[in-house]
């Protein structure tokens, strides 16, 4: 890779840290502020008496579930009925039931898996009232739950975690809306369309007609990146110049992908008053991210077997970026596409700026493993850090076993109930992925979705259920929509979203009720390098060992076949 490519990756890491740290401090202030603002008071008056009261973990969890369920129902209805509704200048018909089911679940769970082509399926009403709103709300639900979990960890002998409606309101108004507007303005300036006019028609230089899809794109793209949503306005997502026209727009969108998850680590550090511990978590996450980028960028620059054997020039030079340019865009080249692929799968974002199906075996294995860790490497807004908490508890527990003491974390004793919840949170999703992948690969109905033959077809299947379970939404996009794959995917997304979320809330409820114990000489220190190494080790041993057999059937086999 050219020096410029490596330079861009380093610049990205630096700018991310410079933005995420202060944002994290701000977010801690947002979620701990005692007083409600004026609009907030009006909001609670509208919701009725006691709507702003403290909730215990069960009440909080019930509210999250009911709210998501009702939103799912409405979204499903809009998608089915869009042909009869307004704001439909291009005359899109209603969406079929499997696709509507999958899509509604997909947006409510913050996944944004796309079994549809945005510009050719969705009316403006669906894009705006359904999908764009969910981009905000499903992300804010994740952020609210994290705020509650962190509050639970920081409290002592308390029965409550906070109030869902307040956390939701503050996530939306204080964090998502302002950031989203800022990013949208930059994107519009760079060339992302923002209009209510329908398609434009051009008479090309050779005299043909070309229809150009437009719409309120920028306002949706900014929130899709910030909220780790990832569902594009266009089918090819952020590879399309209208979503991502320049190197600068690409840089800003990549920052938006990791910004909030990275900031939440610092928010956590401030809220529980354990800043050094938060730094260690950040370092562990960043180390794993950096390894992913290094593997992916090197593999993509080396190029695919087919391209190397074809004899064309794939060496990087001053006049081309070279490498595996299949399904990649010239203005991004290798470095920016590999960095994006890693960032988007470390978080639960899932937007892409190049086709992942065409990635080399090693380049494509990185996203699979990234997602399989349960998005604990930064992860989705909110849900990611909760995933990391499960691994931290396991790490602390392992350390406790080594020295023969009851493990402690942040002054709380970790006992059987907490460990059961942490194990559930860490292991449920990976297990489900393997089971559903097996179901999809062993049945004819499942095989019907496969696009590429042979081992790559297995990789497509594994990727699909890995991505949906972790609410990511990126794809080896050849994997096609059938009623079977759409319905199985919907199940995958629902359980992948709500099981870890409930485990997290239950864990927080349990920790909030505990008193703190003073630190002693035997307490395992979670603010040093030992902890970082142990934490990475736990993630590699838990998620890594579970994915390895499946990985060897897919990308590893493919890589070995064409050395």
């Amino acid at each position: 890779m050219q020096l410029e490519g490596i330079g861009q990756i380093i610049l990205y890491a630096v700018v991310l840290l410079v933005l995420a740290y202060p944002l994290g401090q701000y977010m801690a202030w947002v979620y701990t502020r005692e007083k409600d603002d004026v609009i907030e008071r009006g909001f609670f008056r509208m919701l009725g008496r006691d709507s702003g009261a403290e909730q215990n973990w069960k009440k909080y969890a019930t509210t999250v579930l009911l709210f998501s369920l009702i939103f799912f129902g409405l979204l499903y209805a809009v998608l089915r009925l869009q042909g009869h509704l307004f704001l439909n200048p291009d005359g899109m018909p209603g969406v079929s039931w499997p696709i509507a089911l999958n899509t509604a679940v997909s947006f409510v769970t913050n996944t944004n898996w796309q079994y549809y082509g945005g510009e050719s399926t969705m009316s403006y009403l669906s894009q705006m009232s359904g999908l764009a709103v969910q981009n905000f709300v499903s992300a804010a639900v994740g952020m609210a739950v994290l705020a509650a979990v962190v509050r639970g960890i920081s409290r002592r002998s308390s029965g409550t975690l906070g109030n869902f409606w307040r956390d939701l309101y503050r996530s939306l108004i204080y964090i998502m809306l302002p950031l989203s507007a800022i990013v949208a303005v930059i994107l519009i300036w760079q060339g992302v369309p923002e209009t209510f006019s329908g398609h434009a028609t051009a008479l090309t230089l050779q005299g043909a007609h070309q229809s150009i899809a437009r719409g309120p794109v920028a306002s949706q793209i900014s929130i899709k990146q910030l909220g780790t949503n990832g569902g594009g306005f266009y089918n090819s997502n952020s590879a399309v110049p209208f979503e991502n026209p320049t190197g600068l727009s690409n840089f800003v969108e990549m920052l938006a992908i990791l910004l909030i998850p990275a900031a939440q680590v610092f928010m956590f550090g401030r809220m529980v008053r354990a800043r050094r511990h938060a730094w260690m978590i950040y370092i562990a996450m960043f180390t794993m991210l950096a390894i992913g980028v290094a593997v992916s960028a090197t593999a993509e620059q080396h190029g695919s077997a087919v391209l190397r054997q074809s004899g064309v020039s794939i060496a990087a030079s001053a006049t081309q970026s070279g490498g595996n340019m299949s399904d990649k865009e010239v203005r991004f080249g290798i470095a920016d596409t590999a960095l994006w692929a890693t960032a988007t799968t470390d978080t639960s974002n899932g937007s892409v700026n190049g086709g992942l199906d065409a990635f080399t075996p090693a380049g494509g294995a990185v996203p699979i493993v990234d997602m399989f860790t349960g998005e604990a490497i930064f992860g989705g807004v909110g849900t990611g850090l909760i995933g990391m908490f499960f691994y931290i508890l396991i790490a602390v527990f392992v350390a406790g076993l080594m020295v023969g003491r009851t493990p402690e974390w942040l002054g709380k004793k970790i006992q059987a109930r907490e460990m059961k919840l942490a194990a559930l949170g860490a292991l449920f999703v990976p297990t489900m992925i393997l089971v559903l992948t097996a179901v999809a690969i062993a049945t004819r109905a499942g095989q019907a979705s496969i696009f590429n033959d042979g081992v790559h077809g297995f990789s497509e299947t594994l990727y699909a259920y890995d991505s949906q379970a972790n609410n990511n939404g990126s794809a080896f996009a050849g994997y096609g929509a059938t009623p079977f794959s759409a319905a199985l995917g919907a199940v995958d997304m629902l359980f992948g979203r709500f099981v870890p979320m409930l485990a997290g809330l239950a864990l927080a409820g349990s920790l909030a009720a505990k008193r703190t114990v003073p630190e002693s000489a035997g307490t395992f220190r979670t603010d040093g390098a030992t902890f970082v190494v142990l934490l990475i080790g736990v993630i590699v041993l838990t998620a890594g060992l579970m994915i390895l057999p499946a990985l060897s059937l897919g990308p590893i086999a493919e890589g070995l076949m064409h050395l």
Binding site: L11, M46, F67, G191, V330, F476, A477
Partner: protein
Amino acid sequence: MIRTIVRSVLVIVVSTAVFGFAYPAVMVGFAQAAFSSQANGSLLYRHGQVVGSSLAAQNFTGTQYFHERPSATTPVYNAASTTFANYGPTSPELAQEVHQQVEAILKLEGPYNPGLTVGDIPVDAVTTSGSGIDPDISVAYADLQSRRVAAVRHLPLATVDRMISQYTTGRSLGVLGEPGVNVLELNLALDNLGDK
């Protein structure tokens, strides 16, 4: 339970109004006022007629034009239905398509570039783009096509080379992204030379 349901519906109605309608409406208003060209799709005009967008490739087959990268959309360069090709890295179909593309380029450019071999063809010329409407080609691919375009248009090669650098988009802020040549803008400028 009932109260939570009522509250959920209220929150959904309000957030749909704010995030579904007010937010995009305000952004559209701002965009149309401040950046109207970009906000409407960066359209390019000739004699008042829309001829395309500087952000979308279009189909060039004529020998007087620079050609785009291959596209996987149906029909090709469909700016209303973008897609990846989705061929895996070891796919036989990919190998076949790359081979056909190599043959086509050697046949088209060979007569103008004596001694042209497959090793002179940059990889972006034989691979589909991510969007199917990548507006750019690498500088290397533009250089490969310049002799043909100059010969067919009876222009000095230096003029064509100068126009290539003129329509090469560099890295944003000098560091971000990769350089590329905007094919439609370049072809439009070449056509406009003749108009004068």
